[in-house]
Symmetry: C2
């Protein structure tokens, strides 16, 4: 394995962003990071530029790099565009995946399953991310891949959040998602685009419900009396 310091910096920062070690909005210190990775500022800046190009960071002139934020507007367009892109990627992937890509996908999936089994949150997040990234390379579309990439970044970060928020509930969902991955692999391997799309949309729905629950949780009780009975209140209907 011969990874240059630059690639290492790139990968490390990516992972820190995805696992919220660097939370949205955080500012990055060039000189600090440069020292940290044993690089001078010049190549480190190139790393930051690339990460900005991929949607992990955003750069503002004379004001350095910050982790891409997830505000209300981005959330909105996230829910608008994710299913469309995911479905398109799934179809293309099932159409034209190569066997070596399939191997990589299976490997990511087994690493994911293992992480789930041992309840290693960071690994789960990273390998799930990788799984879907590979899906993107299978699709081999210069045009859709960048969109997928950005969607995945925010999807991963949100997943991380809602897992941290309610571990027990999330765990069963994640195991379900993990099984869906296996089915998706099968659909791709058998070259069944329609089924791959279908599974992908199911996968999305599962995730979407969870995210929506996190974004719009049960309202807080609005007076003292309600507050006392808060634990008893029946869970309200869920928008589907």
């Amino acid at each position: 394995m011969k990874t240059s310091k630059k690639e290492q910096a790139l990968e490390t920062i990516k992972q820190r962003v995805l696992t919220m070690g660097l939370p949205p909005g955080a500012t990055l210190d060039e000189t600090l990071l440069a020292d940290q990775f044993g690089l001078s500022r010049t190549p480190l800046r190139e790393v930051l530029q690339r990460l900005a190009g991929d949607g992990y960071l955003s750069l503002e002139t004379n004001r350095g790099a910050t982790v891409s934020s997830m505000d209300l507007n981005t959330m909105r367009s996230f829910f608008q565009s994710a299913p469309m892109i995911y479905a398109a990627i799934a179809r293309l992937a099932a159409d034209q995946a190569t066997t070596s890509q399939l191997d990589a996908l299976k490997k990511a999936q087994s690493a994911f399953r293992k992480a789930v089994k041992h309840d290693k949150l960071n690994d789960m997040v990273i390998y799930n991310h990788r799984f879907h990234e590979i899906t993107g390379t299978m699709a081999a579309s210069t045009y859709l891949s960048p969109s997928l990439g950005r969607l995945l970044i925010d999807h991963t970060r949100m997943s991380y959040r809602f897992y941290t928020n309610d571990q027990d509930a999330s765990r069963t969902r994640i195991m379900e998602a993990c099984d869906q991955h296996d089915e998706m692999i099968d659909a791709i391997e058998r070259r069944e685009p329609a089924r791959a799309v279908d599974l992908t949309l199911k996968h999305w729905e599962l995730s979407r419900r969870e995210m929506e629950k996190y974004v719009t949780p049960d309202p807080l009780p609005n007076d003292a009396a309600d507050f006392l009975h808060a634990g008893d209140t029946v869970r309200e209907v869920e928008t589907v």
Copy 2:
């Protein structure tokens, strides 16, 4: 107007790519460009990195920057994904365009019309590109914009090619396209997403037919006799 040398370099190189001054596959010389724009290599490299991030160039380590190529595979995914993305962008744009964005769009359109009128190819290409770019900013989708950007780059380059290839035929099409722009502006201004999508797809079809004709032209005559009558041959059916 206070544009830094860097922004100027960025913009100039973009335009050179779009107008095929820098054809697909061309290699760029860092030191030369740096001198040309009165910059040192460090900031110029940052420009190149950004252009690579946006899909104009592609960088290979130790081998410099080359203009993004347009091979068969990319063409394939281009035709696959363009209508989907264009339609999605149109819908979002009609939903949420701001008035200042609309002003910018109208300005780009009038510049485009003027360029068409005076038959200034480069200006046409640039302002048409800008028109659709603004459409993208209207959609305000972090996730779809990068896809749109890449599609537009290649769309613009192809348009340039087929215009150069057959000016007279293209000219009437371009005037039609120009009128469609006006209608699109109207649809956006009136907040009619469905109509905006519809117009966009028509716009796409117009362009698509032209591109397909260029990509798959009438076959060359395959023997001497045919060759002599080549000028007389009736144009074959057009795949629709």
